[in-house]
């Protein structure tokens, strides 16, 4: 206990410590925790349990991963699209972060505002925008035909390409925030030292800077991959029903065929991978840093 300025206060403090076995600050935490517990975590557990009880108790739903080609293909397609999205978004994000690191501060602020705006524009609006751009009679095809570069419209959506374009564009800001946080923590004297010792700028980048950003690259990749796994709106709209990922498949299982068991099994797999990867991510970069950038 800190030194109390005068006797009365000290007596009060002693009393406070003695009676406050129960810290009143718990009362502030309780409402949110209880609400999340009763109306969020309990329902999630309830749904996950369906994976071993619906339609009948047992691991029947999990066996489908190996027996049903549809389910196996679905899982594989989701992982593949998420991996490609991660590679593309982290590469593009690296380019932007690197430029932001070396930009003058007012330029960096401008770049940051653009990132935040794009981060907060709804996924629905962004998918809709790509729908207008990439469609059969979309603006890009119209433009290319108008310029005489192609005679037939290119198939830019209702396929995996369209879904990948939409997902990558959405994920670039997610990649940039952890990358930039990492790059800003690197002492600039390290690269100056490398240069003054005679290394070329390419050598300095590949042998000094790039290895130092490895934690940032890993954190950004994990964050993008985790967030991509749950993509629903973008594949549904830009895939045109032909590029189903797990989330869209779950919604069809619930709303059309009403098979909760399979949907719950897929949800269990998804939530287990997300939480496990989140745990790994937390080892490379504190989650407060990763998410802190989001809210800045």
């Amino acid at each position: 206990m800190a030194r109390a300025p005068y006797k009365g206060a000290r007596a009060l403090n002693v009393m406070a410590t003695r009676t406050s076995r129960f810290n009143p600050y718990w009362l502030l935490v309780a409402p949110a925790v209880l609400l999340v517990l009763a109306l969020y975590v309990a329902p999630i557990v309830n749904v996950l349990l369906l994976s071993v009880t619906d339609p009948k108790p047992g691991l029947g739903n999990y066996v489908k991963i190996f027996e049903s080609d549809t389910v196996a293909n679905l899982i594989w397609r989701t992982i593949r699209l998420c991996l490609i999205t991660t590679a593309a978004a982290v590469t593009l994000g690296y380019v932007v972060s690197y430029a932001m690191l070396h930009a003058l501060s007012h330029v960096r602020r401008r770049m940051m505002s653009i990132l935040l705006i794009s981060f907060w524009i709804s996924v629905l609006v962004r998918s809709f925008a790509w729908l207008m751009l990439l469609g059969h009679n979309g603006l890009i095809n119209d433009l290319l035909i108008g310029l005489g570069l192609i005679s037939e419209p290119l198939p830019l959506m209702r396929n995996e390409l369209g879904v990948l374009i939409g997902m990558t564009e959405y994920m670039v800001p997610y990649a940039i925030l952890p990358l930039l946080a990492n790059m800003q923590g690197i002492d600039p004297r390290v690269t100056s030292a490398s240069r003054s010792l005679g290394a070329s700028s390419a050598q300095t980048f590949f042998r000094v800077f790039l290895p130092l950003t490895k934690p940032g690259i890993i954190a950004a990749s994990l964050l993008v991959f985790i967030s991509s796994l749950g993509f629903y709106v973008t594949p549904a709209i830009l895939g045109g029903g032909k590029v189903q990922m797990i989330a869209e498949y779950i919604s069809v299982q619930l709303l059309v065929t009403v098979r909760w068991g399979v949907a719950a099994m897929l949800a269990t797999l998804m939530i287990a991978s997300v939480l496990a990867l989140m745990y790994v991510l937390n080892r490379f970069m504190k989650l407060s840093v990763v998410f802190g950038g989001v809210a800045r």
């Binding site: 109390a4 600050y25 430029a99 794009s118 629903y232 709106v233 998804m270 989650l287």
Partner: protein, 264 residues
């Protein structure tokens, strides 16, 4: 270094990528003022007919009002609960505190489709499907992590000794909260409220599952319109959605800049 060729190429590439993050979303703007009745650029004339349709159609107006009401109440609720929780977590210590903090971040980490399944299944027996209360509760829960994060960030810069001084001079916890802590972290609370509002205003996946006829938010109507994919009214609605988000973000940026100047 700054003027090197590599540096310049990097700079140009970065701006190109940033352009791709913003410009596609702006396509809704020209499409929304086309004179045609299908999605197209306004080459053959500009018209405000689609905005007029948006503003006179009872369905779109009702969706607009519903979204606004839901977002305001959900944002208020999550700001209240999230702020109190963040303050509590900041002053408590012990093994479980980090676990509780992670627990409160769950709604942000769990993929929205799984939240949607969970709410859907839980709301049916509670009679909350297709009700304002059901959607407001769901959105508020999804937004709590945003508020916890922004308020915790504000508290990290707050001098703990001020709280200790207030308490040891005899102020009760409610008084300390109201007179000492809350005024100091107001920017963080404001940020949390703004992000919670935008989150609810844009939310689609959970809303798709727990609303049917009575409650039909703006994103929900946009989603239906996009699946039909012909009517430029959808583009006009997208413009409204973007503008609302921008107004909130810019308003927030101006407010926090003003505060920064006052502090300096």
């Amino acid at each position: 270094m700054k003027s090197s060729l590599g540096g310049r190429i990097n700079h140009i590439a970065a701006w190109l990528i940033l352009a791709i993050l913003i410009i596609p979303s702006l396509v809704a703007l020209p499409v929304s003022i086309t004179a045609k009745t299908y999605l197209s650029l306004p080459w053959e004339g500009v018209s405000l007919q689609h905005f007029q349709h948006l503003l006179t159609s009872p369905e779109w107006i009702s969706s607009f009002g519903q979204s606004l009401l839901i977002a305001i109440v959900a944002s208020a609720l999550s700001t209240l609960l999230g702020t109190l929780a963040a303050i509590g977590l900041w002053r408590l210590s012990g093994r479980f505190i980090e676990a509780i903090r992670a627990f409160l971040l769950l709604p942000l980490m769990v993929p929205p489709i799984i939240s949607a399944m969970a709410f859907y299944r839980w709301w049916v027996p509670l009679g909350l499907i297709d009700s304002y209360l059901g959607i407001i509760l769901a959105h508020a829960i999804l937004a709590i992590p945003m508020v916890v994060i922004t308020v915790s960030a504000a508290l990290a810069n707050f001098d703990l000794r001020l709280e200790q001084a207030s308490r040891s001079l005899g102020a009760s916890l409610p008084t300390t909260l109201r007179r000492v802590i809350l005024p100091a972290i107001r920017p963080g609370i404001l940020a949390g409220a703004v992000f919670a509002f935008i989150l609810s205003w844009d939310e689609i996946v959970v809303t798709l599952f727990i609303s049917k006829f009575d409650v039909f938010t703006l994103p929900r109507r946009l989603w239906n319109g996009m699946r039909e994919n012909t009517d430029p009214t959808v583009a006009a609605a997208a413009v409204v959605l973007i503008c609302t988000t921008l107004v909130f973000l810019v308003g927030f940026a101006i407010l926090s800049r003003k505060r920064g100047e006052e502090a300096a």
